[in-house]
Structures are given as C-alpha cells and as structure tokens.
C-alpha cells in the first residue's frame, strides 16, 4: 500500500494490489507464450501471409522471401516485382536467373559444409527450402521461383502460412 500525506494532514493511500494482480497475470501469460515454437520469427513487413489450419510449425528461417515488390534470397534483394511478375531481364526459360544463381550458391555451400558423408536426412534437408510469400501473388510467380529452385536442386518447399487461431 503506497501512501501520501496531504496538506491537511490526511493520509491518502493507493491500493496497488489490483495492479499487481494484473501484472502477475500478464507476466504469466507472456511467459507461457514465450518461445513455444521451435523458431520464433517476425514476418517481413512487406508480406501478408495466407491463413492456414496446418499443425506444422516453422522449424527453419525462410531462405526465400517474396514481398509485394521484391524477391529476397537470404535477405539479399535479387529481383523486383512489377505488376505481379519479375522484370523481363531476370526471366530465363520460365525461371528467374538471379534467384537460381543465389540458390545455387546456397546449395553448393550446403554441399561443401556437409562434405561427402551425406545421410538420407541430410539429403532431404539439403533439398528443402522455406519460402515466405505474400498471399496476393499469383501461382505464375510462385512457379517461376519453384522452377529456379528446382534447377538448383531444391525439390521440396516449406511454404509459410499464418496459423489460424482456433
């Protein structure tokens, strides 16, 4: 109980207990929701994820980010998006050349790190890439990115979605 004396000599006391109760409940809630997912990740500001009922959680950070206006591979901008598609100079046989180049570097780096001893689990991991994409993009753009990844030996995708709160 915090108290203050007024000019007339009266003691005014402030009851802090309700505030403490609220603080305690808030802290318990925040601590419970803190880092329960394997990976805690703040979605890129330029990306609005589609909602999904999936139960699978994000387990690695996305290598490919497709915002409304640009494509980033490992946080490096590689292409601009204009009118829902990449610029003509970046297109190559249905794929996107700069995306392929960056993913190829990533695939080569993975191979170098793992060396010759590659288990089946490693092979699956090496061929999987996580992608964060704005929900209003069309499949045409997704297909171009997937084709680029396919050429760089990535054949499985983890497509990021916002889990629906039930």
């Amino acid at each position: 109980m915090a108290s203050v004396s007024s000019e007339s000599g009266e003691t005014l006391s402030l009851n802090l207990m309700p505030m403490l109760d609220i603080f305690s409940i808030l802290i318990v809630f925040l601590l419970m929701s803190y880092s329960t997912d394997p990976v805690s990740y703040d979605v890129n500001g330029g990306v609005e994820l589609p909602e999904s009922t999936t139960l699978s959680s994000l387990d690695e950070l996305p290598a490919i980010k497709v915002t409304k206006t640009e494509i980033l591979v490992n946080d490096r901008k590689v292409a601009n998006i204009i009118g829902g598609d990449v610029e003509d100079k970046d297109k190559a046989q249905g794929a996107i050349q700069p995306v392929y180049d960056e993913l190829k570097k990533l695939a080569d780096a993975n191979k170098r790190v793992l060396g010759g001893r590659v288990s089946e689990i490693d092979k699956v991991k090496m061929s999987t890439v996580t992608m964060e994409m704005d929900k209003n993009h069309r499949f045409k753009l997704m297909k171009r990115i997937m084709l680029s990844a396919q050429q760089a030996d990535f054949i499985a995708f983890k497509l990021m979605v916002a889990k629906q709160s039930s």
């Binding site: 109980m1 915090a2 802090l16 505030m19 403490l20 603080f23 305690s24 808030l26 802290i27 925040l30 601590l31 929701s33 803190y34 997912d37 805690s40 990740y41 703040d42 979605v43 994820l49 589609p50 909602e51 999904s52 009922t53 999936t54 139960l55 699978s56 959680s57 994000l58 387990d59 046989q93 249905g94 794929a95 996580t130 994409m133 704005d134 929900k135 209003n136 993009h137 069309r138 499949f139 045409k140 997704m142 297909k143 997937m146 084709l147 990844a149 396919q150 054949i155 499985a156 995708f157 983890k158 497509l159 990021m160 979605v161 916002a162 889990k163 709160s165």
Partner: protein, 179 residues
C-alpha cells in the same frame, strides 16, 4: 514468553514496500511485450517433380490409385482413378468457396478411404490462381481436422504415425512446376 510478546508488538506497524516489486514487474512486462511474437507461423510442405537423367526402372506396375487435383481461378476438380481396370473413376467439381472447400476436404477423406495406401496427390494449378486460394485448397488436401480419421500405414514407425495424425494426404506434388 514475554520476549515473544514484545516482538509481536514491535513488527505490527511494518508495511511491505512493494515498489521494487512493481519496478521489476514493469521491466519484465516491457521486455516480454517487446519480444513477444503474436502471429503464429506454420508451414505447408509441398514437393515439385524431380528431374533425373536416370533410365526408368523396369518393373511391373501394380494397380495403384492416382489422386489428382486441378485448380483454376474459380473451380477445383478432384479425380481419383485406379491405374488398371476396373478404373472406378471418382470425379467431383467444387467452387473456390469456403463451403465447397470444406466439401472437398470430405471428398479427399473418402478418396483416402478408398485407397489408404496412396498418400500422394498430384496438384495442378493455373497461373492466375492466387496463393491465398492455393493455401486453402492445400489445407483441404493435407490437414487432418479434429474428428477426421487417421490413415496410418500398417507397421508404421513413430514418425509415420505422427505424420498420419496431422495429415490426410501428406505428400502433395505441385505437378504444374515443369519447364
């Protein structure tokens, strides 16, 4: 006894100073609120066709059940057909609406019941379909809802059981992704 009585009188007017407690709580609250992630992020796993220069394996094909989903901007067609006679084709069309996608999910369960060993779906999509609509359809194909049956293969490992507990069709191949 007299000493004890004296002590009781001495501590009667003591008040607990809760201010440091409030300071710590405030700081902890601020830190937790700043670091909290309020949007829970999940993933939908898909595969794309794998290109190989190796010659195809020469083995006698068994009779298998092929499930195909064709998605257009405002229409979805689901087909289940056996690879050898009797083909017993099951085909249904759905609109891209919440109600129809829920009906499609039920049809996917029916198809999986027809052939529990088939856990793969070939998914074809037109170029102009939005990713948000694709994600809804992928949900209907993949995600096992509460009350849906579990399709675990015979002699399944713990990992396979865990996958079966989460999915109706765990393997979705985006077959439109071809050069």
């Amino acid at each position: 006894m007299s000493k004890k009585k004296k002590r009781k009188t001495k501590y009667r007017d003591i008040e607990l100073n809760v201010m440091p407690f409030i300071d710590v709580f405030s700081l902890l609250n601020t830190f937790l609120l700043m670091s909290a992630v309020f949007l829970s992020v999940g993933v939908l796993e898909v595969q794309i066709p794998f290109l190989t220069s190796a010659p195809p394996e020469k083995k006698e094909e068994e009779r298998s059940f092929d499930v195909k989903v064709d998605m257009e901007k405002d229409k979805i067609q689901v087909t289940g057909v056996w690879s050898k006679p009797p083909l017993n084709e099951q085909k249904r069309d759905f609109k891209v609406t919440k109600e129809d996608i829920a009906a499609m999910h039920k049809f996917m369960i029916e198809l999986r019941r027809t052939a529990p060993d088939t856990d793969k779906v070939s998914f074809f999509t037109e170029d102009d379909v939005l990713w948000k609509d694709i994600s809804n359809v992928l949900d209907a194909i993949k995600v096992r809802g509460p009350g849906d049956p579990v399709f675990a293969p015979k002699g399944a490992t713990d990992v396979q059981k865990a996958i079966a507990a989460e999915s109706i069709y765990p393997k979705v191949v985006m077959s439109s992704v071809m050069l």
